[in-house]
């Protein structure tokens, strides 16, 4: 019967043994111990594959690993955003192409196109905005991306972690606290796609995004790109 201490003494030689560094009495003693000790044999078997992998490494490369340049992440995000935009444009063109065949639909398309032309001045040159919902309960995540359009603001909502089937209501809040409905959607477990909603409130005038999940309401501030707009007493859309 081996005592635990005796085992430990032999065991601490297993590393050198696995590397083929043990010689003479120490080696013979350890081998005799191994014969009678399944625990130490098991430990050796666990170290052997690691010892076999050592020759693959080049010790000249154990220093700090090279790090990617800080802007690489942003470059990747921009590439993906651009590709997404191209895909969406193609989808829109397909939609418009389909509409052009019907007379009424064609008129509708014209009306939409007119809106694009007439509404050109309403801040559509602003970039899209990422909105952060902070202080969320554990396990819940909510994200929103706001895109400016001539008709108002397009909202991409992403909710995760609330019960499946939860009805989510979304509003945008204007400069003086007025709420503009942006629509509703249901969160379905396993569906990670964004809900795309829209509201008539211009992005430049949007101060917050509000999401009501039934049990709780979450609000995220929207950083105002042009603070001066707060003072300008513009007519609000109804």
């Amino acid at each position: 019967m081996k005592t635990r201490n005796e085992c430990r003494e032999w065991r601490e030689l297993l590393g050198a043994y696995a590397l083929g560094h043990l010689e003479g009495d120490e080696r013979a003693g350890l081998e005799a111990h191994l014969e009678g000790c399944p625990g130490c044999r098991e430990e050796l078997a666990a170290l052997a594959p690691v010892a076999r992998m050592l020759p693959h490494a080049d010790p000249a490369r154990f220093g700090p690993a090279p790090q990617p340049p800080p802007e690489l992440g942003q470059r990747i995000a921009a590439t993906i955003a651009a590709e997404k935009e191209r895909t969406q444009q193609r989808r829109r063109r397909r939609l418009f192409g389909g509409l052009a065949f019907g007379g009424v639909a064609a008129a509708a398309a014209t009306a939409v196109l007119l809106l694009f032309v007439l509404g050109g001045g309403s801040g559509s040159t602003e970039p899209a905005q990422q909105v952060r919902f902070a202080n969320l309960p554990e396990g819940i995540s909510i994200d929103a991306t706001l895109e400016p359009h001539s008709y108002g603001t397009e909202i991409h909502m992403y909710v995760h972690g609330v019960p499946s089937g939860t009805l989510c209501k979304v509003w945008l809040r204007g400069p003086r606290g007025a709420s503009y409905p942006a629509g509703t959607f249901r969160y379905r477990w396993g569906d990670d796609s964004d809900a795309v909603l829209s509201s008539a409130l211009d992005l430049s005038r949007t101060r917050a995004v509000v999401v009501d999940t039934g049990k709780r309401t979450f609000t995220a501030p929207v950083s105002s790109p042009v603070a001066a707009l707060d003072i300008a007493n513009e007519e609000e859309p109804t």
Binding site: R11, E12, L13, L14, G15, A16, A18, L19, H21, A46, L47, P49, V50, A51, M53, L54, H56, A57, D58, P59, R61, F62, G63, P64, A65, P66, Q67, P68, P69, L72, G73, R75, I76, A77, T79, I80, A81, E83, K84, D143, Y158, G190, D192, S193, D194
Partner: protein, 175 residues
């Protein structure tokens, strides 16, 4: 195993997930890309292409099959092969038969993995493994240099190998 933030199926199809995955894995992927391509510019290209491909194929990622890290490395491996091919067809490189000795890719991945594991090891453990194994120095000499008994060097080799095993397991290595 390393626990990853994104663990649902199709978890890389949103831009947000790509950002999270980038934060968690770009360092390792870049390290391996530099190791196998030998050029930081090409490595950046490879990492960028890896995340773009991962995003495009995001719906197909299934955590039941393997970790996100493993999946990203599999994509990077293909990207590196593609980049290597593109480089080989450029005039002047393939001709003349003076192709530089390039490690086969899987060997490079194994080498990089082991080097990364070594980097994650504690200084004491790495030191004794470098001195005794890679430099082949006698244990007594290393012990004298470190000012510890020879037995301590041996036990550090043992605990170093154990730690190395744990690190490799965390990195997804299975024997």
């Amino acid at each position: 195993m390393i626990q990853l933030g994104t663990s649902t199926r199709g978890a890389l199809s949103r831009e947000r997930d790509v950002r999270e995955a980038y934060a968690a894995h770009s360092g390792e992927l870049y390290g391996f890309a530099v190791r196998s391509l030998g050029d930081s510019g090409l490595a950046e290209e490879a990492v960028q292409e890896t995340f773009v491909r991962a995003w495009r194929a995001g719906e197909r990622f299934d955590p039941k099959i393997g970790s996100l890290r493993t999946w990203l490395f599999a994509i990077l491996r293909n990207v590196v092969i593609d980049l290597g091919r593109a480089r080989a067809v450029r005039p002047g490189v393939a001709e003349g038969g003076i192709e530089p000795a390039v490690e086969p890719l899987d060997e490079a991945l194994q080498a990089w993995q082991m080097e990364e594991a070594m980097r994650r090891l504690g200084e004491d453990h790495r030191r004794v493994l470098v001195e005794t194994y890679y430099r082949g120095r006698p244990y007594a000499e290393v012990a004298a240099e470190l000012g510890v008994p020879e037995g301590t060097v041996k036990s550090r080799v043992y605990y170093g190998l154990r730690a190395l095993r744990v690190v490799l397991e965390e990195m997804g290595y299975e024997d």
